[in-house]
């Protein structure tokens, strides 16, 4: 029940509302803590890396810094993965690292009060609830709140040399 505890902790630690950046993957809406987001940019000029998992699209040049690009749509096994004008990269800071995540679109920034953040149920094989900080309920919308730091530094993302650290 770690997720329950997590959500409870978050609620207890933060009496005020938190802001989330909402993005879409296919039809679903996800959100990440806005404080983790560095910038949003278009998907372009990505250099492929050989022998990497398919969801790692490669690396790109972000003002002189080499940043890996992860396609969450592939990671979450979405049916259609297309790269178009709407496809954007959210550049996030996780720990000391900078990582870009490819999403179908960014919609808005939402403020959620602790009451609106519900604990995430134990579900999903593709997206373990370990990587969720809860579910945001907003009238008729449901936002999946992703703990992006945990997700991107996890072993299965293969972004970090776990042996080396």
């Amino acid at each position: 029940m770690t997720s329950n505890l997590n959500a409870a902790n978050v609620a207890a630690a933060d009496a005020h509302s938190r802001e989330f950046l909402v993005f879409s993957l296919g039809e679903e809406e996800y959100a990440v803590d806005i404080l983790k987001v560095q910038e949003i940019r278009g998907y372009e000029n990505v250099t492929r890396i050989a022998n990497a998992p398919d969801f790692i699209k490669g690396v790109t040049n972000l003002r002189g810094v080499i940043v890996p690009i992860v396609d969450l749509r592939i990671k979450f096994h979405l049916d259609s993965v297309e790269y178009g004008g709407q496809t954007v990269v959210i550049v996030v800071n996780v720990g000391e690292r900078v990582v870009g995540i490819v999403v179908d679109g960014v919609s808005d920034v939402m403020s959620l009060t602790p009451e609106q953040i519900k604990p995430a149920p134990e579900f999903g094989v593709t997206l373990s609830s370990d990587y969720l900080s809860g579910l945001g309920s907003l009238e008729d919308r449901m936002l999946v709140l992703v703990d992006i730091e945990k997700l991107l530094t996890s072993e299965e993302m293969a972004l970090v040399d776990h042996v080396a650290e």
Binding site: T47, R48, I49, A50, V59, N61, R97, V99, A158, A164
Partner: protein, 692 residues
């Protein structure tokens, strides 16, 4: 502000001081010691003591205190120097270094070693001087210092906060200036007492300003050497005048150059000067990451500039003449800027060479050999990160030269050579590389012995091998010709590590040797790791960079030169050599690459001693690239050493030649394993072609 903020500064300074101390100790002429050098050694110990006291590093403070006392005797000529005394001093210096390291790592220094060195120093004082060195920490012996210098750590006074008592001595200052100065001091803090003492006018001040600040203010009005500031322990201001008579006599020494000590006086006068007014203004201490940030930004600037250049070159030169001129000016300025910024990272080789006199001295004594060390090209500059990594390999080579190269004095005499062997360390620039040589005038390498040893070790050798090839044998793992294993060398783990380390830095090692005349080991290194001479190649739609240093040649293979081997291995015959062929598109899964071998281009590369042919689609050109680390935000990628940014802003991967070979093997094995039904023996892996 927390006092721990200053720890790092102290550690760095103390390290430098210890380095100076060692250098001076080694240079000391035992029969006629240079007073200036003795003073320098004393000063170093004293400065460390001051800092250690400020930061509460008691063990370090106490050790330096004892050390300082004995140094003081030698400095005053009361203790005659001998070789064993210098040895003890060096030992004490090493001990200080260990203690410093312990404090740096947040540990307490080794108490046993501390007790031992204290005893040694005390005993020395007893035996040589017949006096017991006091063990109490408050130092009466330290008081009559000939150089009432400011507290050696500028920050200590500031860190101490308010309430520090400083004694400001004004020397030979005219009355009207003096009033002005005292008034000025009154604004910096509370003047507790002031009195005249011959040419000196002493003002005791209760202030929160640091000694350096006060000096800085005073220097607007009088010369730097007319002011001396030193801190008094808080609360001791009242008792100070009583003990004062002890201080003036030595103080007077630098002011009135007594004819009794003509040699010492000029040396002391400048040393008495406040540190801040001295050489510090010529350099500043900057964290390396700040420098790296500037280098990165300049790298960006260069890339932006070349992008602009590309766009501008499409413009009509006549219609946009000013623009074109501006672009070429920008290009020149950007290159100059890059060069200037890169030079910040460069440090002189002296940084590396300075640690060898001690090593050679100790080792020569241990081996009963007379060796003279000569260093050349100390001012040759090399990237800081490389200097740090070159120390270990160079140490190995120097040890080897002393142990195996240079003969014992008797043998040398028998061979008609001077009894004292000569070991030369030299550094020089050659093109974009730096050559570092370890030259000894010893016996040279023994060809027959090497060959015999190689056969015993199971290496494939023949008598027809050239000298160069034979010399390269000593880099084979586990190879040592030493008759017996000593703690100096002979375990055979040295040279292959040396070679690997140097290759890891993008360099290589060469050996020149003549029997009876000596051996020269030459290390060739690139000047910096931040920039790489690369060859860009194209495979499919992708561009990769090969390190130019690894590329031997390139050619278009013909049918006749290609031979198939067991499995799907292919060999390429280049002159009389058969090289394994590795296709980049297979190893790195590149799509749309040319699959027909004779349409591709074979680039012959060499990495970690292996030579092979890399199949690519096209060669694009040679260029200097700025090396960017992939692991900052990602992880190690097999077959790739780093990345760089191309002129169009996209990222290209720099291939790791040695790793590509390994990756190709792993891939082939994996493919074989999946193809073969279980129970069938895997084919014998094809034998690697040894480099000639």
């Amino acid at each position: 502000m927390d006092i721990t903020d200053f720890y790092d500064t102290f550690f760095e300074e103390a390290e430098e001081l210890l380095g100076d101390m060692e250098r001076h100790l080694l240079e000391l002429d035992l029969d006629d010691p240079d007073a200036e050098q003795l003073n320098a050694i004393f000063r170093a110990a004293h400065s460390i003591k001051g800092g250690a006291g400020t930061f509460g590093f008691d063990v370090l403070q106490h050790t330096t205190h004892l050390f300082e006392n004995i140094l003081d005797y030698t400095r005053r000529g009361e203790l005659a120097l001998r070789r064993d005394i210098v040895d003890t001093f060096l030992e004490a210096k090493d001990m200080l270094h260990d203690q410093l390291d312990a404090y740096r790592n947040g540990q307490q220094p080794d108490a046993e070693a501390y007790a031992r060195i204290c005893q040694t120093l005390q005993q020395m004082a007893l035996e040589e001087m017949g006096v017991a060195v006091d063990e109490g920490a408050p130092a009466p012996a330290a008081k009559p210092q000939p150089e009432p210098k400011p507290d050696p750590q500028p920050e200590s006074a500031a860190a101490g906060g308010g309430g520090d008592h400083l004694e400001v001595a004004l020397i030979k200052v005219a009355d009207k200036d003096r009033e002005l100065l005292v008034e000025e001091l009154g604004q910096l803090g509370e003047v507790l007492s002031q009195r005249s003492d011959g040419e000196r006018y002493l003002v005791t001040l209760d202030t929160s300003a640091s000694a350096d600040d006060i000096e800085a203010v005073m220097c607007f009005i009088v010369d730097a050497d007319q002011v001396e500031v030193r801190s008094l322990p808080a609360g001791s201001a009242d008792s100070e005048p009583a003990s004062e008579p002890a201080a003036p006599p030595p103080v007077a020494e630098p002011v009135v150059p007594a004819s009794a000590a003509p040699k010492a006086a000029p040396a002391k006068a400048p040393s008495g000067k406040p540190k801040a007014a001295g050489g510090e203004s010529t350099s500043i201490r900057v964290p390396v990451d700040k420098v790296d940030q500037i280098i990165n930004l300049v790298g960006e600037l260069i890339i932006t500039q070349s992008m602009l250049d590309q766009t501008a070159s499409e413009l009509d030169g006549v219609a946009h003449g000013a623009m074109v001129n501006g672009m070429s000016l920008l290009q020149r300025n950007a290159r100059d800027l890059q060069e200037a910024v890169m030079s910040i990272r460069m440090v002189p080789m002296d940084y590396v060479f300075s640690r060898f006199p001690r090593l050679v001295r100790d080792l020569a004594a241990k081996l009963d050999k007379d060796v003279e060390l000569v260093t050349e090209g100390k001012s040759t500059e090399l990237d800081k990160s490389l200097t740090e990594r070159i120390i270990d390999p160079l140490t190995h080579l120097v040890r080897n030269s002393l142990d195996h190269g240079i003969e014992t004095p008797d043998k040398r005499e028998a061979a008609g050579k001077p009894r004292t062997g000569r070991l030369t360390l030299s550094a020089q620039h050659q093109g974009g590389n730096i050559l570092i040589e370890v030259i000894d005038d010893g016996a040279g390498l023994n060809r027959d012995k090497l060959l015999t040893k190689a056969r015993e070790s199971g290496l494939s050798v023949s008598d027809s091998m050239s000298d160069d090839e034979v010399w390269q044998l000593i880099f084979a793992p586990g190879f040592s010709t030493a008759q017996e294993v000593s703690d100096v060398s002979g375990r055979g783990v040295g040279m292959d590590v040396v070679k690997r380390n140097i290759q890891g830095m993008g360099g290589h090692v060469e050996i020149l040797s003549r029997p009876g005349e000596g051996t020269t080991t030459r290390i060739v290194l690139p000047l910096t790791l931040a920039i790489l001479d690369g060859m860009s190649i194209k495979v499919g739609e992708e561009i990769f960079i090969l390190p130019l240093g690894a590329v031997l040649e390139s050619l278009q293979p013909t049918e006749e030169e290609l031979y198939a081997m067991a499995g799907d291995d292919i060999l390429l015959k280049v002159r009389d050599e058969y090289l394994p062929v590795i296709a980049v598109h297979e190893v790195l899964d590149v799509e749309n690459a040319r699959t027909k071998l004779t349409d591709s281009i074979a680039v012959i590369v060499q990495g970690e001693g292996r030579r092979y042919a890399l199949l690519v689609d096209d060669l694009i050109g040679q260029q200097q690239v700025v090396v960017k680390n992939l692991e900052t935000n990602y992880r190690k990628v097999p077959g790739v050493s780093a990345a760089t940014i191309l002129g169009d802003g996209s990222v290209a991967l720099i291939l790791d030649i040695a790793d590509m070979h390994r990756l190709s093997r792993t891939k082939k094995e994996a493919r074989h394993a999946s193809r073969l039904p279980s129970g069938v023996n895997a084919p014998v892996p094809f034998k690697e072609v040894e480099p000639s």
